[in-house]
Symmetry: C2
Subunit: 533 residues, 2 copies
């Protein structure tokens, strides 16, 4: 029997489940009633998503939204409400844009500038050239041919023939598939590829600028007039080399067909965007419900408050924000918990989990930065850098619960291959079985703010959520609006989030901790990269 399982058994056998259950029953019942019958989730959602809108890291709208959140926490009576700043880069604010075909016929196109694109300073007009380039070796073919052009940088395929459902809820079987133990492994080649791709995108921009191209024109990765403004995958906060516009697939392909069957079409583009070069700092928002026992540490709920900018940042991650804030509201209606309950609205998640990383560096543990690596490699390899050095605050964090998989209701939680915590998480979710939220699966889930906490051995978890239409069409697209959330899902998630926090804050037992991992340092990806790439 491992140490963890022994620990798990210890409290299961030794604690007094009957009494414990009795103590918590009324509180849980209150939480369920408050969260379902007196919910304020949808009002909060409309204030933030309809009234304020998208919250790109370090944008002016993100500042407005944080002021709103801070005022909201204050009104609830939370304490220790403050911003915690970290270095990010330039803020980028999109004001307006346009994309039209001028010849062979006038046509409005569906488009969105790429984030951190420079402005065009008015309408620019030029002929398109279809110049697919996916590696540096392709530049030679186009050298001297791009001056003054609108450069379409890829060849489009055909529209999707998707026969999958747009909207989906998990079956029990879907969830069971997630209940599989898997050791975390590091693939240095994954780093390479991502870094090569990021590096290439920068080089492509620089090449287009050097060649005197007017703009880079890219195709949306989803069809159906969905646009995203994505495509850069290097660190945000840096201005792109040339104006970059993403076109809807339908509009992009039309240009390519026309260019290949006759005279190249002429298009007009405009991007009005401003940069904040003064304030290069982003910030997390932190707020507490102070606990009775200063020595008992704290439990924490978090969601990234920053969003992408194509929609209103509703499913990603307005939903998590609203659930965290509604859980806070519900819990303020209860007597003081034993442990402090901390709420974090992260920033910079979309640019690489920067907010939760900054919280770790400030409060929990440090990792060395290998200055022998290129800046981008330094940035990307941090999460695997060795050794990890505890800070005094490390032992105070007793549990962290994250929400960032769209607006879908909770179906359970990912134990992150950590069998030691399964019994206690199972016990805490049991009261929500009738809300269909009681599954604990061994599997990991990545890509959001619990990851770096997990990596340093803290009990940090992300809930299992019904997918709805999050990945099929909403994620980072112009469809990320409140319409695509579901009131009953947000209320259910708020109840479960509040219930888990409350039990974690008051439990005699603590979640067992993996402790500092002995993970290998990732070798410099550039040293092992294929030289012919």
């Amino acid at each position: 029997m491992t140490k963890r399982l022994a620990a798990a058994c210890l409290f299961l056998c030794a604690s007094h489940p009957v009494i414990a259950a009795a103590e918590e029953k009324d509180d849980i019942a209150f939480i369920i009633e408050e969260g379902t019958q007196q919910s304020e989730a949808m009002v909060t959602a409309s204030e933030l998503l309809d009234g304020i809108g998208p919250r790109l890291t370090n944008s002016a709208n993100m500042d407005r939204a944080q002021d709103w959140a801070i005022a909201k926490f204050a009104k609830m009576g939370l304490t220790n409400i403050h911003r915690e700043e970290f270095e990010f880069g330039y803020g980028w604010d999109l004001v307006d844009w346009s994309a039209t075909m001028v010849s062979p016929r006038p046509l409005r196109m569906t488009a969105l500038p790429r984030a951190w694109s420079p402005p065009t300073n008015g309408v620019i007009t030029g002929e398109v050239v279809v110049a697919p380039m996916s590696k540096v070796e392709h530049f030679a073919e186009w050298r001297g041919k791009l001056s003054g052009k609108m450069v379409l940088i890829s060849m489009p395929g055909e529209t999707s023939e998707s026969d999958g459902p747009v909207f989906k809820r998990y079956t029990g079987e879907d969830i069971s598939k997630k209940d599989a133990f898997k050791e975390e492994t590091y693939d240095p080649h994954a780093w390479e590829d991502r870094l090569d791709s990021a590096e290439f995108k920068q080089k492509l921009g620089e090449f287009l600028k050097a060649e005197g191209a007017q703009a880079m024109v890219a195709m949306s990765y989803r069809d159906g007039m969905l646009v995203h403004g994505e495509g850069y995958d290097f660190r945000g906060g840096e201005i792109l080399a040339v104006p970059a516009m993403e076109l809807a697939q339908e509009d992009y392909r039309r240009l390519v067909r026309l260019a290949q069957t006759g005279k190249a079409p002429t298009i007009s583009l405009s991007i009005d965007a401003s940069f904040d070069t003064e304030d290069t700092k982003a910030a997390n928002v932190i707020a507490d419900i102070k606990g009775r026992d200063p020595k008992a540490g704290y439990v924490m709920a978090g969601a990234h408050f920053d969003s992408w900018f194509a929609g209103d940042g509703a499913a990603d991650n307005g939903a998590g924000t609203i659930v965290v804030m509604e859980a806070a509201r519900i819990l303020t209606q209860l007597p003081k918990p034993k442990r402090t309950i901390r709420f974090a609205l992260w920033s910079g998640e979309e640019q690489g989990l920067l907010g939760s990383r900054a919280y770790i560096e400030r409060h929990l543990a440090t990792r060395p930065v290998d200055t022998s690596l290129a800046p981008m490699a330094q940035f990307r390899s941090w999460g695997s850098a060795w050794p990890v050095t505890k800070k005094p605050g490390y032992d105070d964090m007793k549990a962290y619960f994250n929400m960032d998989n769209g607006g879908g209701r909770f179906r359970g939680i990912h134990a992150e291959s950590d069998y030691g915590v399964t019994p206690l998480l199972t016990k805490w979710l049991a009261p929500f079985a009738s809300m269909d939220a009681d599954r604990v699966v061994a599997g990991k889930t990545g890509g959001t703010d619990h990851v770096y906490l997990q990596r340093i051995g803290l009990p940090a978890y992300q809930f299992i959520q019904d997918p709805l239409d999050y990945f099929s069409r909403v994620h980072h697209s112009n469809l990320d609006t409140l319409d695509h959330l579901r009131a009953e899902d947000l209320r259910q998630a708020s109840v479960v989030m509040a219930g888990m926090l409350w039990q974690a804050a008051n439990s005699d037992e603590e979640l067992p901790r993996a402790g500092i991992p002995t993970e290998p340092k990732v070798t410099d990806p550039f040293k092992v990269a294929d030289p012919n790439k």
Copy 2:
């Protein structure tokens, strides 16, 4: 045994299938090769759909497109190429438009003016008011409250939770479900409802104008940022009473939520559209491949050339147009057929099958117009008016094949509950079994230009087509672009269309004819309408 079945048996037993098959084999083989290996379908498609674009009935772009089609037919060597005009109404040309939220925050919205909306003469700005009105009795509640407002005329529901596939091809079972005999019946209440709805929409526009509203704002009937510019369902060619803008569901719902939870948002709209009040005539384009035997009559293929304006009119009905024109091109490569093969590119289909109706009135048969009915009822009841009076040309039309169900390949043909024709249609489709196009089903299919020909007892048929994503998202939306067609489907359909025309044009046997039907006259819907409606 019915007369029709006797007739069917007659030629099946009496004709010489072996010889007939032998005669046609080489021609069919040539048609398949020419249509698959030397196809020009996609080039034609790009010229029309990418280069020219949408073709709203009697718009300037429709005129351009018809000039292109006439030149194309001439280049193929067809004869008797001409326009046949019919009275329609004003042409409407959309030049540009915009829709933005001004307060509580600046936001571009996805929108499309309703067809035949008057222009706004610049940008108009006003507060929204949510005033759901679905019957005349609702007007009283809003009288005196709409002056200067942007009037949202409905309450939105929730976004769809569609778990159906976006893209679909028929299984054999799907097609078998269509093989069911059903007598045509007339439901006068259907007329009523449609007429009431059309009448109401006109009255609503007049009410908004009388109340001094700035504009009517409607919600798209599909979510996912799809817009259509639809919503009028009365006869086209008439200018709406007030500027009318359709908003994407996501943008419409945001306005409603904001209006209902706080201060009503302010929006700005602009519609730049022009009317052609001089030329009120629309026209069909007709072209022939002249047959050897002037007494043998003609067979015909048709597709409506007019389109809706939200996209490029690709699936509806660029696809049918391209297939009819490619079939013509293929058949010009063969020696003269026995019967003339006529090609019709209809206009006014979107406004009520007006082009094919005009062809009937000019060449085939007349129906009385009941002038005691309201104009709209006269217009809508024509297809069921009694008696039908043959014209000399009635007997000359031996077969009509229509294509207008999107870009999907042919899977067979609808016999329209006419068992008499099934054996011959089955025989003619047999060579295309390996192209999966050989199913003959008894079922009817409506809503396009074969319907009025069927109603007067002529052998007029529409093919069974794979749905693809036509009805799920493309039909009349801003997604109706060439992207959503499939090259191999258009080539297959062109081959089958050409093959059916060729066999019908050269067959010793003729399709049996239902003859003039003894159908009841539809009673004046207004006399039986519920007075409380």
